[in-house]
């Protein structure tokens, strides 16, 4: 396929990895923020091409993974109500809440449906005026335009049977939280190409300056990722800490202004609790006053915070890059994609799911079996 195949050329990747090895004079640690990049790195074996002094650690960029248990529990509670049709992206259904998951809610008779887009949930609401249709709005800045458009259209159409359970999160505050952690090892970032497609790159400039870290906006194909790593290492070796755009075929410095204006109309910045990490100030999106009528938490009277239940799952450390999935004693044994302890094993962007799928044979937990 055009614009995909040519970025997967194995020979070009090997030459690029060799160029990278020549550039390197000492060890460096780089974090790829986006879960989509984590999966591409493991799927194509990009990490295995890298010189051993270069460590890649996997970041918090999996929206399903960082959604707190309290919101999963609220989703399950809403989905179980009579007259409700609960719509969600597929990954959310297997994520464990305190006791059950959304699949269990469906099995118990709840009308839970998987949709590809929030706009599909809006169509369900238009076609079923007798049902209260709720969409589970999970995502980073990349998903915000679609979610904002769904709410915007619901208001324009005067729909009273559509609402959203909003679990939106933002990337830059999470990067700052990682950099401020006492055990932080990250020296450079690969920033998420599709988040930047929407938001542009300017909000990363103060972070690069304040923490002296290079931030390279990177795409999702193997050659994109290798090129992002190369640019990041070159900055580190030269003592620079700048925002550099290596995904210019999609990302413009100012981002997508139409999308940003839509997001600003519908959403406002709010504090958000991240699963396994805790509350990060100004790190999420909630509905603005003008669209507050579409807030499912208010509509179903379940607003408010609940304590995070204790769990064997170490996804908080995984999401901060403090540990890798195979270091978890439950990995591949008590925790698998079919019976996950936490969201990082469920999502198509979760680091544990990526290791389970692409590296199972190489991990100690599985060798024991």
């Amino acid at each position: 396929m055009k614009f995909v195949t040519e970025y997967r050329d194995a020979e070009a990747a090997r030459r690029l990895a060799a160029a990278l090895a020549r550039l390197l004079t000492r060890p460096w640690t780089i974090m790829e923020v986006c879960g989509g990049q984590t999966h591409a790195i493991l799927k194509f074996g990009v990490d295995q091409l890298l010189p051993p002094q270069l460590t890649l650690i996997h970041g918090p960029g999996c929206p399903v993974c960082v959604t707190p248990v309290e919101l999963i529990d609220k989703a399950i509670e809403i989905a179980a109500r009579p007259g409700v049709t609960f719509c969600s992206f597929g990954d959310m259904l297997r994520v464990p809440g305190t006791t059950v998951d959304l699949f269990s809610a469906k099995a118990s008779g709840g009308d839970v449906r998987i949709v590809y887009s929030p706009l599909d949930a809006l169509t369900v609401a238009r076609e079923h005026p007798d049902r209260q249709v709720v969409f589970f709005a999970v995502g980073f800045e990349t998903t915000a335009p679609a979610n904002a458009m769904a709410v915007y259209q619901a208001k324009r159409l005067g729909l009273t049977n559509f609402s959203m359970l909003v679990a939106h999160v933002l990337v830059p505050p999470a990067m700052e939280a990682i950099l401020q952690a006492p055990d932080n090892r990250v020296q450079g970032f690969l920033a998420a190409g599709h988040v930047c497609t929407v938001m542009g790159t300017t909000e990363y400039e103060p972070i690069a300056r304040r923490y002296r870290v290079p931030i390279v906006v990177t795409g999702f194909e193997p050659l994109d990722i290798l090129q992002g790593i190369h640019a990041c290492v070159r900055q580190l070796e030269e003592g620079r800490a700048e925002v550099e755009n290596r995904y210019a075929r999609s990302v413009r410095r100012e981002g997508n202004r139409q999308a940003q204006s839509l997001i600003r109309q519908v959403f406002r910045v709010v504090p958000r609790r991240w699963r396994g990490v805790g509350e990060i100030p100004a790190s999420g999106l909630g509905l603005t006053e003008a669209f507050a009528a579409f807030d499912a938490e208010a509509r179903f009277g379940i607003a408010g915070s609940r304590p995070e239940p204790p769990s064997e799952c170490i996804s908080g450390e995984i999401l901060r890059g403090a540990r890798k999935p195979p270091e978890c004693p439950a990995f591949g044994t008590r925790c698998t994609p079919e019976h996950p302890l936490g969201a990082t094993m469920v999502s198509s962007e979760g680091a544990c799911a990526a290791y389970f799928r692409y590296r199972r044979a190489a991990t100690p937990a599985m060798k024991r079996n």
Partner: protein, 64 residues
């Protein structure tokens, strides 16, 4: 709305955020919403940069 082919699978996609998109363009789509029109010149430039990078024996003095 517009029709977008994903390797042959055609889906309806919202084009409200990419008013510049035309028939035959390549777009980045997320959750049913087109987010950008691919810049074909930039796409080709990356591949040329990569060739140069890999051909060099020494790291260059300044960023490309």
């Amino acid at each position: 709305m517009g029709r977008v082919s994903f390797s042959g699978v055609v889906k309806e996609v919202h084009l409200g955020c990419v008013p510049e998109a035309g028939v035959g363009d390549y777009v980045i789509v997320h959750a049913g919403m087109a987010l950008s029109v691919l810049d074909e010149a930039e796409a080709a430039q990356v591949l040329r940069d990569l060739e140069q990078l890999a051909a060099l024996q020494e790291p260059p003095e300044s960023p490309a």
